[in-house]
């Protein structure tokens, strides 16, 4: 990880979500709701017809809500509201990590998508074990890299060499978070070409 605070900041901002989309949605909904309330208030003050409901009607409706609605309906509506609230809280307080990670670099903040790493590891494994495209599948998770190898039937697969290739490739990247690697060799092979 770079020592330069500017580079560190660039990496941090690129690998974590800014929550811009939930914020845009929330702000838009709030904006519309507030504008509607203001408009209704003006219409009510001028004793004009309300668009949907006047402020007085809204208050009266709220007041009678427990009496006019069945308990199950109230509970369901409340659960829905609370669920949306929880979802927003989760978005706000969660880590918001994106599927990217930083690569060691002296000069710049280098951030790579996880699927680029997956494709590169698959390619490296194929090269090390002499496999055809499609025989090695790599999944990059938060802290782990899992490689699934489908061997060619009738040919011995050197698991150690595959493991070494994966670890060597990952070590070369110098990723900011340590990654666990795992190699799984499937029982069924493919017919050799």
């Amino acid at each position: 990880m770079s020592k330069d605070p500017m580079i560190r900041r660039l990496v941090r901002r690129e690998t974590h979500s800014s929550r811009a989309i939930p914020s845009l949605v929330a702000a838009s909904v709030l904006l519309v709701a507030f504008l509607w309330l203001a408009l209704e208030s003006v219409l009510w003050m001028l004793k004009d017809q309300p668009l949907l409901a006047s402020p007085a009607q809204i208050l009266r409706w709220l007041e009678g809500l427990p009496k006019t609605t069945i308990p199950a309906g109230m509970a369901a509506a409340g659960a829905g509201l609370a669920l949306i609230g929880l979802l927003i809280l989760g978005l706000a307080l969660g880590r918001g990590r994106r599927h990217r990670r930083a690569l060691e670099s002296d000069r710049a903040a280098v951030v790579i998508d996880d699927d680029v790493i997956a494709a590169a590891v698959s390619g490296r494994v194929r090269l090390a074990a002499g496999l055809a495209p499609g025989q090695a599948t790599t999944t990059v998770g938060g802290r782990s890299v899992r490689v699934q190898v489908r061997p060619t039937s009738g040919r011995r697969l050197e698991v150690e060499s595959v493991r070494k290739a994966v670890d060597g490739e990952l070590a070369a990247y110098g990723l900011d978070r340590p990654m666990m690697s795992g190699v799984q060799v499937l029982k069924e092979g493919v017919v050799g070409q």
């Binding site: 914020s23 702000a27 003050m45 208050l59 409340g78 509201l81 609370a82 927003i88 699927d115």
Partner: protein
């Protein structure tokens, strides 16, 4: 790279989440507990009566009737204004100017982001591992930074690409005279991005 105020987004979303959670809990309680339903009705009644009383305290001639009614319009308008400000605080910061140096009366030197963009594109055009390049400059309080985005061919080694770009940046530092903070983002093709999977064969 955008100048979105992330702390503000988190704070406001947290606040909104707590408010919605509280409202949901109140509605559930009012629907299932008799004493909560009574409390709910009494509170709403109290608010209505208080509002009626307030309108009479600061009267105005027709058709406005009262200062508090004006306040009742001003509060939602204020809320709308704050929401619009929140909306406007998202993103921003892209600049066509990468660097600028003023030498008093001797003049000013401005480096366009387009110059660096063309240079990077030209330098990487022969690289078979790079499908496309985009370069932009972003401004923040901490200074201007360069954003280089590479679309890598499937299976390309990210380390090699990063080294290539690093060398390129080294040359550019020598060319421009002083290093510019840079963010290099290596992505896969757009098609794989859309599928949302981090798996690769």
């Amino acid at each position: 790279m955008r100048n979105t105020n992330r702390a503000l987004n988190r704070l406001l979303l947290t606040f909104l989440g707590i408010v919605l959670l509280g409202a949901g809990a109140a509605v559930i309680a009012a629907g299932t507990l008799p004493w909560a339903a009574e409390l709910w009705t009494n509170t709403a009644q109290g608010i209505r009566e208080q509002a009626r009383g307030l309108v009479a305290t600061a009267p105005l001639p027709e058709p406005i009737r009262g200062w508090w009614l004006l306040a009742g319009i001003a509060v939602p308008l204020l809320g709308a204004g704050l929401s619009a400000a929140w909306l406007a605080s998202q993103g921003g910061g892209k600049t066509p100017r990468l660097a600028e140096q003023s030498e008093g009366s001797a003049g000013r030197t401005v480096i366009d982001a387009g110059l660096v963009s063309t240079a990077v594109r030209e330098a990487l055009s022969g690289n078979a591992e790079v499908l496309s390049t985009s370069v932009s400059a972003w401004e923040s309080r901490r200074g201007t930074a360069l954003h280089i985005r590479l679309e890598a061919r499937k299976g390309a080694s990210p380390k090699e690409l990063a080294d290539t770009v690093e060398q390129l940046l080294g040359k550019m530092d020598a060319w421009l005279g002083h290093p510019i903070p840079a963010l290099v983002r290596i992505t896969s093709g757009t098609r794989t991005q859309l599928s949302g999977s981090r798996r690769a064969r």
